[in-house]
């Protein structure tokens, strides 16, 4: 069996300047804080972020925003991190706001080999600008396209050595979707267990998506 467990610094080295990263979590809930901290220390730059939100200045992916590591951020909400608005207003960074349901579906689309989907969300708003619209069965829809990343950074509660994941409570959010939508997938585990310790009925996202596992000491 291939060994997927690496150190947090080895994991941080997978992210290079200019890459696109997906980060799991919703307002830092379910975000791999240790991986974020390691990337702040490594000070990798000019990244594109795909995340539900930009967290808080001191929690979640927001720490990387404060460290000015993103040239572009794709998110549904940035209101909890004033630093995002500062960088947006100063022109240091580009912020692309996407409705949360469309963002989740775009990531799912990227991970499941679909070319795009039609959603009613955003019709009649700024969100439809520049996008193809189509009337299907008498209703107007917007074409939304898939999102993928070079690296996905996830957080799970329990992970077996193959990478099979259990998320807990409201910490699923974007994690299982991003697991399928990146070329390299790194999961920060609270606890790492042997293969077979997790009942197949309890696995929430498969280890086949996971390249590297870090942590296990919580």
């Amino acid at each position: 069996m291939i060994n997927k467990i690496i150190s947090i610094n080895e994991a941080a080295d997978k992210v290079k300047d200019g890459m696109t990263i997906m980060v799991g979590g919703f307002l830092a809930n379910g975000t791999p804080e240790d991986l974020i901290d390691a990337l702040v220390v490594k000070n990798v730059k000019n990244l594109t972020l795909i995340c539900n939100d930009t967290g808080f200045p001191d929690r979640g992916v927001g720490k990387m925003v404060v460290a000015k590591q993103f040239k572009k951020m794709i998110a549904s909400h940035v209101g909890t991190n004033p630093e995002t608005a500062n960088q947006m207003n100063s022109g240091e960074t580009e912020v692309c706001l996407v409705p949360q349901g469309s963002l989740a579906e775009k990531v799912r689309c990227g991970g499941t080999g679909l070319g795009g989907f039609y959603t009613p969300t955003g019709i009649g708003t700024e969100v439809e600008e520049g996008k193809e619209k189509k009337v299907i069965d008498g209703k107007e829809y917007i074409l939304e396209l898939p999102l993928r990343a070079d690296v996905a950074l996830l957080r799970a509660k329990i992970v077996d050595k193959k990478g099979n994941m259990i998320f807990t409570k409201s910490c699923k959010n974007f994690n299982p979707l991003m697991a399928m939508a990146a070329d390299v997938v790194i999961v920060q585990a609270d606890k790492i267990v042997e293969v077979g310790e997790i009942d197949p009925e309890d696995v929430m996202s498969s280890g086949i998506f996971v390249d590297y596992i870090v942590g296990g000491d919580k």
């Binding site: 919703f26 307002l27 830092a28 809930n29 539900n52 939100d53 998110a75 549904s76 909400h77 940035v78 209101g79 909890t80 608005a85 947006m88 912020v95 706001l97 409705p99 949360q100 349901g101 469309s102 963002l103 989740a104 579906e105 990531v107 799912r108 959603t119 009613p120 969300t121 955003g122 019709i123 009649g124 708003t125 700024e126 969100v127 509660k157 807990t168 409570k169 409201s170 910490c171 699923k172 959010n173 974007f174 994690n175 299982p176 979707l177």
Partner: protein
């Protein structure tokens, strides 16, 4: 008069036994406090669960179980957790009976603006655009005016959250229904007269022939 309590209670009375409801952050959250004991409402939290319960007591917070505002929450028996794609599948798919949310502006077409003030504040739409398009009934719950200025307009001037999706507007002064004919004033708040409501509303109002009163007492 506690304006917010008056609004929350009236909104609660619009909900039916068995309904699935999503409450926005702030005032809409208070609606949960006014659901009668014999009415079974399932609250959806768009970050990933059904069966949203009350906030835990101080000292018993669980940071792995937060609501859509990122604050510690609870889940009730009969609830379930899911990822963000499933969450918004539930929302867009018409499985949410009602969504209650605040507004910066709402107009006589049922247009809603609550996510952006150009040049000033761009928090992002979060899940609002999906919720407003997907929920079967969209209830705007808000204080009638902003610093004395009307928020119920002929036409929204701020960027829209959604086009023609609002069904009901509940304020401390009035219950207003959005119809094809225009805005119908159906009920007056405890301290409001028709003239008061007209003066505080930019949009023209059709006065219902069955105009009623509402408030904390009835």
């Amino acid at each position: 008069m506690d304006a917010k309590a008056v609004i929350a209670k009236r909104v609660a009375e619009f909900l039916n036994d068995g309904d699935v409801v999503n409450l926005g952050i702030g005032l809409p959250t208070m609606v949960a406090n006014y659901i009668p004991k014999d009415v079974d409402i399932t609250f959806q939290s768009e970050n990933g669960f059904l069966g949203l319960g009350p906030a835990p007591e101080a000292g018993k917070e669980d940071w792995e179980l937060v609501n859509a505002g990122g604050m510690p929450s609870s889940i009730l028996p009969g609830g379930m957790f899911f990822d963000s794609a499933t969450s918004f599948g539930i929302i867009r798919g018409g499985h949410v009976d009602a969504t209650v949310l605040g507004a910066m502006q709402v107009d006589h077409h049922g247009n809603l603006a609550n996510w952006k003030i150009p040049g000033k504040m761009v928090p992002g739409m979060g899940g609002a655009m999906d919720l407003v398009v997907g929920a079967n009934t969209v209830i705007v719950a808000m204080v009638h005016t902003q610093k004395g200025k009307p928020k119920i307009l002929n036409n929204c001037t701020l960027p829209l959250t959604a086009k023609e999706q609002v069904n009901l507007i509940v304020t401390e002064m009035a219950v207003i229904r959005v119809t094809k004919e225009g805005l119908v004033l159906e009920e007056l708040g405890p301290e409001a007269t028709v003239e008061d409501v007209k003066a505080a509303t930019e949009a023209e109002l059709i006065i219902s022939p069955n105009l009623k009163k509402f408030g904390l007492d009835n």
